[in-house]
Chain length 296, copies 2
């Protein structure tokens, strides 16, 4: 059988799987992100087991934490580039995998992978301009624009958007080491924990933390709507509990205030701001979608 | 001779011209934007003169104030849609011109037209992902992404980005009727005039107005860099005096703070944030580029 391999290469863990879509996903394996040598070694060992088992590994895709170089043809294509994560700066992920496995390797940011997976199998099917935010340890944003993954000069860094921050209402200064109170600095999981001195999961739904969180996420989403004019915005990641969605939608509608007079934005936004259709498999399925793309 | 016609359809004036690029631009005619009937009538009369003069008018392009519907195939393609400008809501600009002139009509936002013109003849030649901001009576942003004009659900509205606003340093509440202190509410020409009680042109270069203006523009530019990852950002419009460019570049670099480790953004930004190569003809030449696009 022909299989595609996916690696969701996160800053804290790697998830590997094979298959050709949500129905056939199998052999999911998770391991912690340690050194590049050890972590990529475990990923390579995993795919070699697949190859040894008699299945043909057609291609591998990597949806990686960043910053990365996702531009095919660039001399550093497939590298994790200037990350502060110890040991990982300038790691040639694609080169290592290609040399070891001898298959085509697709590569992009974790969030571009996720938006591609959602486009193929999830809630972005049939759309051509879609944004995917992940809100967790950090905040990242990926986008499909006119049917193609958005790269531009390099790739988006939507987590670092500058948004209004009312220091009277919220004196917390933000935790981004580069920007202080950018979106990620104010609204990532670690920001919630640092502000309230307890982990987000332990805060009850009526805690003021959540209205504040919804407000900041809505400001980020609104800025991306105004810049990219997406047909849908997908919000995933560990922070995105179900009760946040109605609050984010309400804030987005209030912030736009009817300015963009299209029904998707002036009505309930229930189908405009949505969780990933693929749930927590969006990452690894996105990596498989990148593998399929690399194989064509 | 085969000619392309362009209409820079602004909220205060229309500019019409014919030609096939900067070298051949001729017959430039300007008139005020009054009612749709009168204003489109004058544009039609202008092009009929051209046709009567024996030149073949191959196509016409319109780069229009908005909001507009720029999506070919949409039932309201070529309309100015929900504008608050009296009389202009739901005006079928393309339908009127096509019926009167019997030629293909290209149509997009003024800023998408401008970025297309800059891509063909100006400072965006050879690039594929570029943003064009105009800063004048309002603020608008257009973009080319991977070589195509950005539409998404409708079109960008970058002028209405939400940005940090320190009310202690700048108590001015902003003038946007929809959002108060969005980018346009804080940094458009009328916002400068309302804040300082005098027109921007009369404020000396060392007036604090300009550092504040550069700060707000930089916040908007940074958010667009983080979302679209453009290869270049072009700033045009009546407010963009030459002395603003070094200040905006300095602020953008300070705000990004080295996070995106590409030379274009960590060095001087002299070639990254630039004025339009076509100067004040970017608008009407963009319209001609839209005409050429419609003719192919």
């Amino acid at each position: 059988m022909q299989l595609f391999g996916g690696i969701e290469a996160g800053g804290t863990k790697f998830v590997c799987a094979v298959g050709d879509g949500p129905e056939t996903l199998r052999e999911v394996r998770r391991f912690p992100t340690t050194t590049p040598q050890e972590t990529l070694g475990r990923a390579i060992a995993y795919f070699r087991e697949i190859q040894a088992g008699g299945d043909m590994l057609r291609a591998v895709g990597v949806a990686a934490f960043g910053p990365v170089d996702p531009r095919p043809g660039s001399p550093t294509f497939g590298h994790i580039t200037s990350t502060p994560k110890p040991g990982w700066a300038n790691t040639d992920v694609v080169g290592e995998l290609r040399a070891a496995l001898n298959v085509p390797v697709g590569f992009d940011t974790d969030v571009n992978g996720a938006v591609l997976g959602e486009h193929r199998w999830g809630t972005a099917q049939g759309l051509d301009t879609v944004v995917y935010f992940t809100v967790g340890t950090g905040i990242g944003g990926g986008a499909l624009v006119a049917g193609k993954l958005l790269h531009g000069m390099m790739h988006p860094e939507m987590g670092h958007l500058r948004i209004p921050h009312d220091r009277e209402a919220d004196p917390f200064p933000g935790i981004c080491p580069y920007h202080g109170d950018c979106l990620e600095g104010l609204a990532s999981g670690p920001a919630i924990e640092a502000r309230w001195q307890q982990r987000g999961e332990t805060l009850p739904p009526d805690h003021p933390a959540w209205d504040l969180e919804a407000r900041y996420l809505a400001l980020g989403v609104v800025n991306v709507i105004l810049t990219l004019s997406p047909q849908r915005v997908i919000l995933g990641g560990g922070v995105m509990q179900a009760m946040l969605f109605p609050r984010v939608r309400r804030e987005v509608r209030a912030l736009l205030n009817g300015y963009i007079a299209v029904p998707a934005l002036t009505e309930g936004l229930d189908r405009y701001i949505v969780p990933p259709g693929l749930g927590d498999r969006a990452g690894v399925l996105g990596a498989i979608a990148l593998a399929q793309h690399a194989a064509t």
